[in-house]
C-alpha cells in the first residue's frame, strides 16, 4: 500500500460521491469512486485503495455483499461505514468495519474520520 493509493468512496448517491471527493481532494487525499458494490469490487482488484468509505444500502451489490465478497477473495481492506441509518454501529460490526461516519456529516467530521482511520495526505 502506497501513500498515493486512493480512498475509495462507494455510494449510489452521485451528489455524495462528488461532495466527498471535493472535500478529500482539497485536503490532498486521492479519491476513487464507485456507484455500487459490484463497481467497487472491480476497482478494488484493479488498484488497491488504502481505505474504503462504504455506503450500506445500494443497488446491484450492497455493503454486506461487498464486504463478504472481499473476505471470500481474501482481500483485507480497512472499511469505514458511511450510512444514514440508525443502526450504523451494528451494521459496521456485522461486516467487520473499523469505524463509522454517520450521515449527515460535515467537512470537519469527514476529514477527521478519514485521518483517524489511517489515510494521511498523499504526495
Amino acid at each position: 500500500m502506497t501513500d498515493d493509493a486512493p480512498v475509495l468512496v462507494v455510494d449510489d448517491d452521485a451528489a455524495i460521491r462528488d461532495a466527498v471527493r471535493d472535500v478529500l481532494e482539497s485536503e490532498g487525499i486521492a479519491v476513487e469512486t464507485a456507484a455500487d458494490g459490484a463497481d467497487a469490487l472491480e476497482k478494488v482488484t484493479r488498484q488497491r485503495p488504502r481505505l474504503v468509505l462504504l455506503d450500506m444500502r445500494m443497488p446491484v451489490l450492497d455493503g454486506w455483499a461487498f464486504a463478504s465478497a472481499l473476505r471470500e477473495r481474501g482481500v483485507m481492506l480497512p472499511v469505514v461505514v458511511m450510512t444514514a441509518a440508525a443502526d450504523a454501529t451494528r451494521w459496521a460490526e456485522e461486516i467487520g468495519a473499523i469505524g463509522v461516519v454517520p450521515k449527515p456529516f460535515g467537512v470537519t467530521e469527514l476529514v477527521s474520520a478519514v485521518r483517524r482511520f489511517g489515510a494521511t495526505p498523499g504526495a
Binding site: 448517491d13 455524495i16 461532495a19 444514514a84
Partner: protein, 611 residues
C-alpha cells in the same frame, strides 16, 4: 325400640325440624306462603307433641286433649288446600268446600263422643283422602308451570301430599280388619317417613340440592355464553342474558341494565332500541345496584312508589334484581319481573343471582377482549409511527450530507467576509439545525420505544470526560469535579448525550467568563450528577414544562439562543430509562442547576468492576 318406633321417631323429628324452619322463615319473609307453611307444620307439631306429652305425662284422659287433637287433625287437609291455593290459585268453590268440611268435621269431633261408628269414620277417611289427593294434584299442576328448583320443590311437595293421602287411605283399609295386620302399621310408618322426607326436600331443601337443580337450567340458558363474548355491543349481551333469565325463572319479563360510568346511570335498552336510564338507588334495579346485593319484592308498587304507575299498568307485582359485578367492577343489574310473587323467594333470588354472576363473567371478558384489541391497535400505530420516522429520518439525512458539505465548501471558498460566503454560512447553519432535529427525533423514538439500551458497567466520570471531549468549544468553560469513580450499569452513549445536552445548555445560557460546574459523585448507592451555571436562569412559570417535548424557556430569544426544545426532554427520557430522575432549581439572573440521580442498578457488578 322396634323398627316402627324408630321410623316414627325419625319422622317426628323431621316434622319438628320443618316446623322450626317454617317459623324462622315466617319471621323473615311475611309472605302468605310462609304463613300457610307455618300453620301446616305448626299443626302437625302440636299433634305430635300432644300425642307424646299425654303418653309421657299421663293425662291422656283429659277431654280437652282429645278435642284439640281432633280439631288439629281436621284442619290438616284444609291447610294443605290453602298451601296449594297459594302456589296455584284454586276455584272458589273448592276453597269454600274445604273450609266447610273443616268446620263440619271439627265441630262433629268436638260434639259427638267417640268411638264413632265405622261408616262415619270411613266417610271421614274418604274426605281426608279426597282433599290430600286434590292438593297433591294441584301441586303437580303448579310444578308444570315453573322451572328449575321451584319445579323440583313443587314436585316433592306434591309427592309428600300424595303419600299423606295414601297413609290415610291405609288407615281406612285397616278398619276392615277386627285386628289390623302388622304390615299395615309398618307400611304406614315407612310411607310417613317418605312423606316427611318429601316435604323436607320441598320446603327446606339443603343448598347443595338447590344448586344442583338450578345449575342445569342456568347452564343450558347460558350455553351460548362463549359466543356472547364476541358480540360487540354490551347491550346485545345484556339482551341474551335477560332472555336466559326469562327461560330459567319462568317469569314474565326480564331486563339487563348496564352501568354508564360517564352518565352515572343504569341504561336499559328498550325494544325500540332507545336507552332508558335509571339512577343508582332508584326503583328496585337502582337499589340492588346501589346496595350491591340482590333485592326481592312481592309488592312492587309499594316498594318502588316511583314506578308504581308503570307496574300497575303492566300488572307486575314481583321483582327480583341482582347486581352484575365482577371483582370490584360494577357492571350493571339483572332484573326479573313477574305477575305473581315467586313461590320460593330464595330460589328466585338464587337463580337471578347466579345468572347475574354469569353475566358479569361474560361482560367482563368482553370488556377485557375489547381492551386487548385497543392495546394491540395502539402498539401497531406506535410501531408504524416509529418505522415512518426512521425512514423519513434516513431519507432526510442523505441529502442533508450533500447540503452540509457543499455549503461548507462554498463558505470556505467565498470567504466569511464576503456577502455570498455569509449566505453559504447561513445555509450551513440551517442544515446543521436540521441535522440536530433529525438526530434528536431518532433518539426520542429509540428511547421511547425502549430499544437499544446497552447497559454495561461504566464509570460515569469517564463518560462525562468523553462527552466533554466531543464538544471541545464548550468544554473549555467546564470545571469537572469527580474524586472517585462512580461505576454503575449505564448506557454510555445515552449518558454522553445527556451530559452534552446539559453542558451545552449551561454554556449557551451563560456568560463566557462564568464557568459551568459539572460534579459527579456517589451517594446512598446512587450516582449523582449536577450541572450548575450562573447564566440567565429559568422563569418559574417555565419550570413545570421544562422537560416536556418542544418546550423552550420564555426568556430564550430565538435569535440569540438557538434550540429545538428537545434536549431536556431527551435528558428526562435517558434518566428515566436508567430508572433515575432529573430535576432543576433555578433563579432568573442567578443561574440554574440540573441534578440527575441514577441508581447504580447492580451493585455487585459495580464492585467487581471497581476491583
Amino acid at each position: 325400640m322396634t323398627a316402627q318406633d324408630f321410623l316414627s321417631a325419625i319422622s317426628q323429628l323431621i316434622y319438628l325440624a320443618l316446623f322450626v324452619i317454617s317459623s324462622v322463615r315466617l319471621a323473615r319473609l311475611h309472605s302468605l306462603v310462609a304463613l300457610d307453611t307455618f300453620l301446616f307444620f305448626g299443626t302437625i307439631a302440636i299433634l305430635l307433641l300432644l300425642g307424646d306429652l299425654t303418653g309421657l305425662l299421663g293425662f291422656s284422659d283429659e277431654p280437652w286433649v282429645g278435642v284439640v287433637s281432633w280439631i288439629g287433625l281436621a284442619a290438616l287437609p284444609f291447610l294443605l288446600l290453602r298451601l296449594a291455593h297459594d302456589f296455584q290459585p284454586r276455584p272458589t268453590w273448592v276453597m269454600v268446600a274445604g273450609s266447610a268440611t273443616f268446620v263440619v268435621v271439627a265441630g262433629l269431633g268436638a260434639v259427638v263422643p267417640q268411638p264413632w261408628p265405622n261408616p262415619v269414620v270411613l266417610a271421614l277417611v274418604v274426605d281426608f283422602v279426597a282433599f290430600g289427593s286434590y292438593a297433591s294434584f294441584a301441586f303437580l299442576q303448579a310444578a308444570g308451570k315453573t322451572r328449575a328448583g321451584t319445579q323440583r320443590r313443587m314436585q316433592a311437595v306434591a309427592l309428600g301430599s300424595g303419600l299423606i293421602a295414601a297413609i290415610i287411605a291405609l288407615a281406612g283399609v285397616s278398619l276392615a280388619f277386627a285386628e289390623p295386620p302388622e304390615w299395615i302399621a309398618l307400611t304406614s310408618q315407612v310411607l310417613s317417613l317418605a312423606a316427611v322426607t318429601s316435604y323436607f326436600v320441598g320446603f327446606a331443601p339443603p343448598p347443595i340440592l338447590q344448586r344442583g337443580w338450578q345449575e342445569p337450567a342456568i347452564r343450558s340458558a347460558l350455553a351460548t355464553a362463549p359466543e356472547l363474548v364476541r358480540l360487540a355491543d354490551p347491550h346485545d349481551i345484556g339482551a341474551e342474558i335477560a332472555a336466559a333469565a326469562l327461560e330459567a325463572t319462568g317469569a314474565e319479563g326480564s331486563a339487563v341494565g348496564l352501568w354508564d360510568e360517564a352518565a352515572g346511570v343504569l341504561q336499559f335498552r328498550q325494544p325500540s332500541g332507545e336507552l332508558q336510564s335509571v339512577a343508582s338507588g332508584q326503583a328496585i334495579s337502582g337499589r340492588a345496584f346501589a346496595l350491591q346485593r340482590p333485592i326481592i319484592t312481592g309488592r312492587a308498587e309499594r316498594d318502588a312508589p316511583d314506578r308504581a304507575d308503570e307496574y300497575r299498568r303492566s300488572g307486575i307485582r314481583a321483582i327480583v334484581s341482582a347486581p352484575i359485578t365482577s371483582g370490584d367492577r360494577q357492571l350493571g343489574v339483572l332484573t326479573v319481573y313477574a305477575l305473581r310473587p315467586p313461590v320460593f323467594s330464595d330460589d328466585a333470588v338464587a337463580v337471578v343471582r347466579m345468572l347475574a354472576e354469569q353475566a358479569a363473567l361474560v361482560l367482563r371478558s368482553q370488556e377485557l377482549l375489547r381492551e386487548a384489541a385497543q392495546v394491540r391497535t395502539m402498539a401497531e400505530m406506535t410501531r408504524l409511527k416509529d418505522d415512518f420516522l426512521s425512514v423519513v429520518a434516513h431519507d432526510v439525512r442523505t441529502p442533508l450530507t450533500t447540503i452540509l458539505i457543499n455549503s461548507e465548501l462554498l463558505e470556505n471558498a467565498l470567504g466569511r467576509d464576503e456577502r455570498n460566503g455569509q449566505r453559504a454560512g447561513a445555509l450551513r447553519v440551517e442544515a446543521e439545525r436540521l441535522k440536530a432535529l433529525v438526530d434528536n427525533y431518532l433518539d426520542i423514538v429509540s428511547v421511547e420505544a425502549g430499544r437499544e439500551a446497552r447497559l454495561e458497567p461504566v464509570d460515569l466520570i469517564q463518560v462525562a470526560r468523553e462527552a466533554l471531549e466531543g464538544m471541545p468549544d464548550q468544554a473549555s468553560h467546564v470545571e469537572l469535579t469527580g474524586a472517585q469513580a462512580v461505576i454503575g450499569m449505564f448506557d454510555a452513549a445515552r449518558l454522553r448525550q445527556l451530559v452534552q445536552n446539559l453542558v451545552g445548555n449551561a454554556v449557551k445560557y451563560s456568560d463566557s467568563t462564568d464557568p459551568v460546574e459539572l460534579r459527579i459523585w456517589q451517594e446512598d448507592g446512587q450516582a449523582q450528577l449536577t450541572v450548575r451555571d450562573h447564566g440567565i436562569g429559568i422563569p418559574d412559570e417555565d419550570l413545570p414544562l421544562l422537560f416536556e417535548r418542544f418546550h423552550r424557556g420564555s426568556n430564550t430569544d430565538d435569535r440569540r439562543y438557538r434550540g429545538l426544545g428537545l434536549g431536556l426532554y431527551i435528558c428526562r427520557l435517558v434518566a428515566e430509562e436508567h430508572g433515575g430522575t432529573i430535576d432543576v432549581t433555578s433563579k432568573v439572573g442567578e443561574g440554574t442547576t440540573f441534578r440527575v440521580t441514577l441508581p447504580l442498578a447492580s451493585t455487585s457488578l459495580a464492585e467487581v468492576a471497581n476491583d
